[in-house]
Subunit: 412 residues, 2 copies
Amino acid sequence: MISARLHYEIKSNLKADQSALKAEREKKSSGYYDLVDSQVALLGEIETFAKKTAGFDAIVAVGIGGSSLGAKAADRFLRHLPQRNNRKLIFLENGDPIALSAELDKINLHRSFIFIISKSGSTIETISIFKLLLSKLGKSALDSSCADQFAFITDEGSPLDKLGHNNSVSRFHIPKSVGGRFSALSAVGLAPLKLVGYDIEKMLEGAQATRDDFFKDDPLSISAKSSFIASCDKSVNALFAYSNSFEEFVKWYVQLWGESLGKLDKQKKRVGFTPTGLIGSVDQHSFLQLIMEGPLDKTITFIKVRDFKRNLSIPSISLTGLEKNDYVNNQSFEKLINAQADATLQAVKSAGAPCDELAIDRLDEYHLGGLFIYFELLTSLVGVKLGVNTYDQPGVELGKQILEKTLGGKGQ
Amino acid sequence: MISARLHYEIKSNLKADQSALKAEREKKSSGYYDLVDSQVALLGEIETFAKKTAGFDAIVAVGIGGSSLGAKAADRFLRHLPQRNNRKLIFLENGDPIALSAELDKINLHRSFIFIISKSGSTIETISIFKLLLSKLGKSALDSSCADQFAFITDEGSPLDKLGHNNSVSRFHIPKSVGGRFSALSAVGLAPLKLVGYDIEKMLEGAQATRDDFFKDDPLSISAKSSFIASCDKSVNALFAYSNSFEEFVKWYVQLWGESLGKLDKQKKRVGFTPTGLIGSVDQHSFLQLIMEGPLDKTITFIKVRDFKRNLSIPSISLTGLEKNDYVNNQSFEKLINAQADATLQAVKSAGAPCDELAIDRLDEYHLGGLFIYFELLTSLVGVKLGVNTYDQPGVELGKQILEKTLGGKGQ
């Protein structure tokens, strides 16, 4: 179960908000709303696919941005679970030559199954790394001798999709209306996650429950929170998650929030918020001072985990001169970290920063699915209230054109 | 060599800025200015210490915030170098029970050398984890039977220092006037880094060169940049580093910048900036849209690496239907990532966001030392111009008091 609590007062019109997102859902402004249903049909296909690829020792996911952040967040969030098999899962995202070499050193490429993930099917980093892998496999082209080692996850009809079709490569399609940053619950996330052992059906179930709750009576107050964020004068939204398991999840959030809402609105006014991801208690020793005494330009969302499922307590040891630290002796680390979240929330609130909290029962697939869709719904509603197109990213094109011009291409 | 270029016009008074920092240096407002000299004396001691601990298989650094971010940033930045030995180095920072278990599973604790790092000597997370380690070693107290396995890095006279003294534990002192977030070049960073093989002398040399350059003629324009940041109306400062090796460095920067400058100024006005760390090209697919079309409330510092020292090129493979990507064929990944940095800088500049760039020759100890001190000097100067105490962090106390009250302590 996920629960939420807002530490501010705000009125919102739930019916209107539900209608707004219902309209987006029906118009297919974004297809993410229905992924949890449409992808259930995919589960069987992914199951068969998983069996076919059972002989590979490691999994390589080549993709960047929305093509990697969801699966990466999920594997970091879930990797402590017993169902995680011992296959290495590496992500090749960036053209950093040191990082590429170091990641490839971790695996035997010849015994690895490789996903090439690109919505457009032509992302420059992804295709360049794809070529590097072909070359490291001793190939000068994609051909049937290596087709069994690859799967492509891309839009139907993209150049990558056609290439795969012509060479009998396994392919999964991303629904056209689902953008990269909303695709964690499509094959983009589900296929690699299945191959390392996770229960992807539970992930869809968790997402479905949270989505349906919103359209029923919004127990997580997504409507009210979106009204607050869209109407208050705070330019920074911090996500303060009290568990290291959120280390990659907060990066997924940063992309979702920054890229969806950082836009020109209908009046061509620049709008949007700076998202920032924090891990508690670590960032109490880093970012907290700025929240407490710096400009009151931030909202803060705290996330807590009710049950870490780990029996680990602070031993009853008293160190001479350090007796004042003994007040936590015999307490569980879980209790300590959650008390730190509560204490920090109280301190931040007393400093005048608006905050809210989410709590999840456990770090598992079901709750992760719920969190994915919680933030997606929140993003959509804030987008409606800002009057932006939540689902495009026109601002990133200019850099790509300059790059292509610089490196000798045409710069379309 | 580090070079810098500002893409905006700004006048500043270098002489006055040099005098301001010279005064801080002489008054010992912070002792970090002279670490590069004072710690040279420590090198012999650390050398001897390294020999004494040569038999251990792994290194454990227990510490949080300023007690871990510097060494963590350094190991991530440098780990590709051949001098990095194959000892595991794990950081235990957070009371997250899943993270603690997972990190401890990576090593044999009985064959590990353990640093306990805390400036105050009583940080609650650090001391609690210290007790956990004692217990896992089968001890109910610190005694001479396990003293050889530990070193304490703390302020002289702290409770931890006394405990170490009374039990013959190796100790390194953090100079009193050096705060946690300015301590990367003290034993806090140097001792663990030496034990995994890095050339810490080179790190000090690089820092010294950059510091002395500032006091000579400021070739990196730290004076001008600080004037721009302190006087312009931008509330967010993004660091956009084009190499995965900066993944932890940007977190070190976030603490330094957020915690030093997020303060009440002399008129009790809340000042400071939100720091954010980005990795290129990955975050072109995440945060760039917000920079391009969102509010113009950000400055952006680009960092490039001139020579990655890795021969890795995009193979000359042409994939049917993807010929438009062939413009990067035969080019090195290094050239691609640096061209991406240049193209993004141009795009961001044309959108009206003020930016500047740093370039370093290589990812090595010398350049890391230089970058550490570059950002420290910049922080100090912006602090002077904002009229804050750059070196304290009064805002984090309230949360600690509430925690202690909640968990049954006295809440001093």
